[in-house]
């Protein structure tokens, strides 16, 4: 059948051109023949075009409800709203892997196009690296996990025939939420984006061009991918909070961890390259961090898809685990050997002289991020390791992750504030005194303030104190910078501030991102004070949770075409006055026999009141689960501030020698 054949052909041909692109680039650079280099570049574009064709075909098959295809019958149905039909392209494994390949092709083409100048020595080696990755995923697309597989009815009497159900199974209602539609593409733009910096790093190692040229080439790519990865992670958390109804947003689930780990090493990398640019140090760290990030991105895809670690996301055991394991181990071996062989070219140009220096701050930064990443990795894969070693699977609980990651996170927060205040080479006592005075003073004052307002958790107190500390350092940086500018250029405060930030957008954008992290930590700190309560109440009765009184005013139900809905109206009181009314809902979808909760949340800067309607008890009382989640809103606000800061960093610089 035409569509399937064309789709399969496109995917096979894409493999051919991917291999061809890599080969042409390698031969072109060895023989010094620019024509071959250009052939290599063009082959990348052709590969992209072919994969695009197969994506378009799959999309049109979905939109035309062609249920002869296994994938479409499994993840879509005729009545599915358009937005979710489009999203069903990546709802299941086959389509998701195809999306991976497609985004990789698009990124590769963009990288080639932006670096296509003839004298670029790195591109001819970067292309084969990107192509080998593409070949791996194309192999999966073609042979392990083909989206164009068609349904076949096997008859008991022997023989097979094509078959299609009347209607598809549809998309799980839990996934029918706008955040879930964009979450995979955004996360992928983060994951896959790191393939480009990795490719150029390998190219730099291979060709021994280990100055800072490769770092500049990839600077914006890295920021861009990092931004999408972080956004994808927060989107997933937000969806979990709003849809899953357990009152939280992060459970250290293996799939969540899979996306966090490359973010941790990626963040370390973003910071560590600054030291190489300024002082020619930490070169081995930088190449290692970018290789680690790439490997963790592939590992993350592996953990999510292969079902090898049990998680709410992935119980389906599939056999694509083996190819992934081989690829990751092979790539790890390759990177290790290459870095070891190039160690002579990665010597530092300067030495670490003092612990109280910016360089050592960055070094500790790297160590802390790495410690966080490895502890998360260990906890995540431990069930597999223990099974291999002792035959018993041992699951590691949330207590482990929280115990290790909270202190590390707080130390990193401290560095975010202290680091910028340290000087390169050595910080004098005088400048320590001048620069740390206010931040430390106000930070320390927070401690008695916390105790006075009844905060009993030590970690929460430390966290709040550090939030204040870092915020003061950031304000100080903006202020002192503006004053310094005003001393050399005749400008008013506001103008000086704008000019200062515009001319140093990387620095000040970074400070904005740090402030976003402060807000995020503020939100995270709130989770130390969660209150929970459950009321089994009739209409007119009420119950208390935290400072709130919840009174049920009505219980109703309704039957709609595709689902049944039960709603409870709850009036919320605080200090005797009614502040709002919430209507949490419980739904039951007929087609998929799937219940879902439509949580009702009252947001405020101080806390979220989060209500779940669990249904009715035998004697007709409403069961309402309530959570008071302090400060959660700041997690989302922090995320937005981080995005804004990152965008500001990515603006083209506006610099001249004169300040």
């Amino acid at each position: 059948m035409i569509a399937a054949d064309l789709g399969n052909y496109a995917l096979m041909a894409a493999m051919v051109f991917a291999a061809f692109a890599g080969a042409a680039s390698i031969f072109g650079t060895r023989r010094g023949d620019p024509r071959l280099l250009e052939v290599g570049q063009r082959s990348v574009y052709v590969m992209t075009g072919l994969v695009t064709i197969s994506v378009i075909i799959l999309w049109s098959l979905i939109l035309k409800d062609d249920f002869r295809f296994n994938y479409i019958a499994g993840h879509s149905n005729a009545d599915l709203p358009m937005m979710y039909k489009i999203g069903s392209l990546w709802a299941g494994q086959e389509g998701s892997l195809l999306l991976w390949t497609w985004i990789l092709c698009l990124y590769s083409s963009a990288a080639v196009f932006s670096q296509r100048r003839r004298h670029n020595r790195l591109l001819p080696i970067a292309i084969p690296v990107m192509m080998i990755t593409a070949l791996f995923f194309l192999y999966l697309n073609n042979f392990s996990s083909n989206p164009f597989a068609q349904l076949v009815a096997v008859h008991t009497g022997g023989g097979e025939s094509a078959w299609a159900p009347q209607d598809g199974r549809g998309l799980n209602p839990l996934l029918q939420h706008p955040a879930m539609v964009i979450h995979p593409p955004i996360l992928y733009m983060g994951y896959i984006g790191f393939v480009v910096p990795f490719a150029f790093a390998i190219a730099a190692l291979w060709t021994r061009q280990l100055g800072s040229a490769w770092i500049y080439t990839i600077r914006r790519w890295t920021l861009f991918s990092w931004m999408f990865l972080g956004t994808g992670i927060l989107l997933g958390a937000k969806w979990a909070y709003v849809e899953l109804g357990w009152g939280g947003y992060w459970a250290w689930d293996p799939v969540e961890n899979a996306s966090l780990m490359p973010w941790l090493t990626g963040t370390a990398f973003l910071h560590s390259v600054i030291v190489q640019e300024k002082r020619g140090m930490l070169k081995v760290w930088n190449v290692s961090l970018v290789c680690l990030t790439y490997l963790l991105c592939i590992l993350g895809t592996f953990l999510t898809r292969s079902g090898v670690v049990s998680s709410v996301h992935s119980f389906a055991r599939s056999d694509i685990g083996i190819p992934f394991a081989i690829f990751i181990l092979g790539a790890l071996l390759f990177c290790t050997v290459l870095i070891l062989k190039r160690l002579p070219y990665l010597r530092s140009e300067n030495q670490l002289t003092s612990i109280l220096s910016r360089e050592s701050g960055f070094l500790f930064n790297n160590l802390l991020f790495l410690a966080a990443c490895f502890s998360v990795l260990f906890g995540t894969v431990f069930p597999i390791l223990s099974e291999l070693a002792t035959g018993r699977k041992i699951a590691v609980g949330q207590a482990y992750f929280n115990k290790v990651e909270v202190p590390i996170g707080l130390l990193l927060l401290f560095l975010a504030g202290a680091g910028p205040l340290l000087a390169y080479r050595k910080t004098s006592v005088e400048s320590l005194r001048k620069n740390f005075l206010w931040p430390v003073a106000l930070g320390l004052l927070t401690i008695p303030a916390c105790i006075a307002t009844g905060v009993t958790s030590i970690w929460a107190t430390i966290s709040l104190s550090l939030c204040v500390f870092v915020t003061v350092t950031i304000i100080q940086e903006f202020h002192k910078g503006t004053r310094a500018r005003m001393r050399s250029v005749a400008e008013g405060y506001a103008t000086a501030l704008v000019q200062l930030t515009r001319r140093n957008n990387r620095r000040y954008g970074g400070y904005v991102v740090h402030f976003g992290m402060v807000l995020l930590f503020l939100g995270l700190t709130g989770s130390a004070f969660v209150r929970e309560g459950r009321g089994i109440v009739s209409v007119g009765e009420d119950f208390n949770v935290g400072d709130y009184t919840l009174r049920v005013s009505d219980v109703s139900e309704e039957t709609l075409p595709n689902y049944w809905s039960g709603t409870v109206n709850v009036d919320i009181f605080r200090d005797g006055r009614q502040i709002t009314s919430l209507d949490p809902e419980k739904r039951y979808y007929f087609a998929s026999e799937q219940p879902s909760s439509e949580v009702a949340i009252h947001q405020s800067a101080a806390a979220d009141l989060y209500l779940v309607y669990a249904g009715q008890s035998d004697d007709g009382k409403a069961i309402v689960q309530a959570y008071v989640n302090p400060l959660v809103m700041w997690v989302w606000i922090g995320g937005l501030v981080i995005i804004a800061g990152t965008l500001f960093c990515m603006l083209p610089p506006l610099r001249s020698r004169a300040v």
Binding site: A423, K426, V659
Partner: protein, 128 residues
């Protein structure tokens, strides 16, 4: 019908990719060695000036004593001067006849070197 369509697609794709070889233009040399070195030097210049600007900003904000600032600034300015000189030389050489036979210069001490030199004969530094 389908095999025909696939054949057309294959031909167009292969044709587009292989065009640089198919159109009969001579192999030519990879060349651009000078451009490559020049590109890296220009990037190095940008970095050095960026670092200088940052250093000034941090000093004006009081993060380091003036003595430390001056010694770091002097070191950066020296490197910048060498890079500028090297760039100037390359640009003048490129403006003249033979691109590919451009002589090389040690980026650290400025000594002129044979084209294929890997190490500087005067200061022993590694040549890019």
């Amino acid at each position: 019908m389908l095999p025909f369509a696939l054949a057309i697609i294959s031909l167009v794709a292969a044709g587009f990719a292989l065009w640089p070889v198919l159109n009969g233009s001579p192999a030519g040399a990879l060349g651009g060695e000078t451009d490559s070195v020049l590109g890296r030097l220009l990037q190095r210049k940008r970095t050095l000036f960026e670092n200088l600007g940052d250093l000034e900003l941090e000093h004006s904000m009081g993060k380091m004593p003036t003595q430390d600032y001056e010694s770091m600034r002097d070191a950066l300015e020296l490197q910048a001067a060498l890079v500028l000189e090297h760039i100037d030389l390359l640009q003048r050489t490129r403006a003249s006849d033979n691109h590919d036979a451009a002589a090389r210069f040690c980026i650290l001490c400025g000594e002129s070197l044979p084209a294929r030199a890997r190490f500087c004969s005067a200061c022993g530094g590694k040549v890019a």
